[in-house]
């Protein structure tokens, strides 16, 4: 049975403003279309949404739980609140926790100035940290001839894992363990440089929001310029190719 699927049109409000959306879109999609800013970290256009960082939490009237905008689908009549004192407080807390968990010392980081964690802290006004820093000492893997993985700067957003498995199809990287000990590994926690699966595509470098995965030869601070939109482009091209088949 072939039938043209009718697109369901949904109306909802975002911060009191009535907006239209099509069914299946997430709150984040619709907010973006309407120029409403919702902070995100684990989300990246082109990758399958993950819902890990919780920075995109928003309120929905009549629901006493906060929901992540990046993985929550819009529904008819929904009243979304994307910004208020409470949400800002929670978002700053999340950032503070991220900062204390690993060693995010911007002044000596290649990503200084191109880091999404850093810029969100600026935008959301997280200017000091009230918790003790954990100062972990993860081993830096510099065995690869092109890339370095430094778990001390990782926020476990899973972008590198998703781009490696879903876009590149190599799935060299994944997250091992759990809790504060969780970290990025290649294959069976082997040296990245000897990985039989890594294709050296460098997509992980492009998507990493911090300086946790970087290209070699970039030794100085603030050198890590990235082309993040390349992944959305690849995903789109792939989708188009699939539709042609």
């Amino acid at each position: 049975m072939t039938e043209i699927q009718s697109v369901q049109i949904i109306t909802l409000t975002i911060d009191g403003k009535p907006v239209g959306a099509s069914g299946g879109e997430t709150i984040l999609d619709v907010a973006k279309q309407n120029q409403v800013f919702i902070p995100t970290l684990c989300h990246l256009e082109g990758l399958i949404p993950y819902g890990a960082c919780r920075l995109c939490l928003v309120e929905i009237k009549g629901n006493n739980k906060l929901v992540p905008a990046c993985i929550t689908k819009v529904a008819e009549g929904m009243e979304v609140i994307t910004n208020n004192e409470r949400l800002q407080r929670f978002r700053r807390w999340i950032l503070e926790l991220l900062f204390t968990e690993r060693n995010h010392v911007c002044s000596v980081c290649v990503a200084n100035g191109f880091c999404e964690l850093q810029s969100l802290a600026e935008v959301l006004g997280m200017d000091h940290v009230r918790l003790p820093y954990l100062h972990p000492k993860f081993v830096v893997d510099a065995t690869h001839d092109r890339f370095v993985s430094d778990n001390n700067r990782c926020i476990l957003c899973g972008r590198c894992v998703r781009v490696c498995s879903d876009i590149e199809g190599a799935h060299t990287l994944d997250i091992m363990g759990r809790g504060i000990k969780a970290r990025i590994v290649s294959d069976l926690d082997d040296d990245w440089g000897n990985s039989p699966t890594c294709t050296r595509c460098s997509k992980c470098v492009q998507v990493c929001p911090t300086g946790a995965i970087k290209e070699k030869g970039r030794r100085s601070v603030g050198e890590k310029f990235k082309h993040r939109d390349v992944i959305a482009h690849l995903a789109e091209m792939r989708e188009a190719a699939r539709e042609e088949d």
Partner: protein, 168 residues
């Protein structure tokens, strides 16, 4: 039907692999059988070594890093060959308050190792558990499956000497 019955050869000739393969077949050798399969390997061999992880990855078509991620996420799986004897110390809240740090300290002093390690001579595994479920008896440890409540450091060390030297 997927590639049933053409499972790759196991890493060695141990008969126990047959049981593991049976579990994989039962689940259609699909990537979804990962956890079940790891359970079977853990059950058969007592731990998951590199060869087993590589084999499971290969047989189910699950990337190595994903197999490793799952194997290290669940406490049930161990990647190191366990010691002959095993001691689980509860580090849950009640036991913590009732003095588990002292037990851990004493174990460290006597055996020179922290929780979740295996002694160099392979005679003892120390493990931590986040609540064994009998908080009324805190602090609790179990030695070779025997639960010991309201435990002092001396009692624990004595018990361990007893089981370890009972072998000799």
């Amino acid at each position: 039907m997927q590639r049933l019955s053409n499972l790759p050869d196991p890493p060695n000739s141990d008969e126990k692999w047959k049981g593991v393969q049976l579990v994989m077949r039962k689940h259609g050798q699909s990537p979804h059988a990962l956890i079940e399969t790891l359970h079977a390997v853990q059950h058969a061999f007592g731990y998951l070594d590199r060869d087993s992880l590589t084999y499971v990855s290969d047989a189910l078509g699950v990337p190595l890093s994903k197999v490793y991620g799952v194997a290290t996420f669940y406490q049930y799986f161990t990647l190191k060959k366990p010691g002959t004897h095993n001691c689980v110390v509860c580090t849950g809240t009640a036991c913590y308050i009732k003095g588990v740090p002292k037990l851990v300290e004493a174990l460290k002093e006597r055996y020179g190792m922290a929780l979740d390690e295996v002694s160099a001579d392979g005679s003892l595994t120390l493990q931590s558990a986040c609540c064994i479920g009998t908080c009324g008896l805190a602090p609790i440890a179990s030695v070779d499956g025997e639960e010991l409540g309201r435990l002092s450091a001396e009692e624990l060390l004595d018990k361990l000497e007893e089981v370890i030297h009972g072998d000799a």
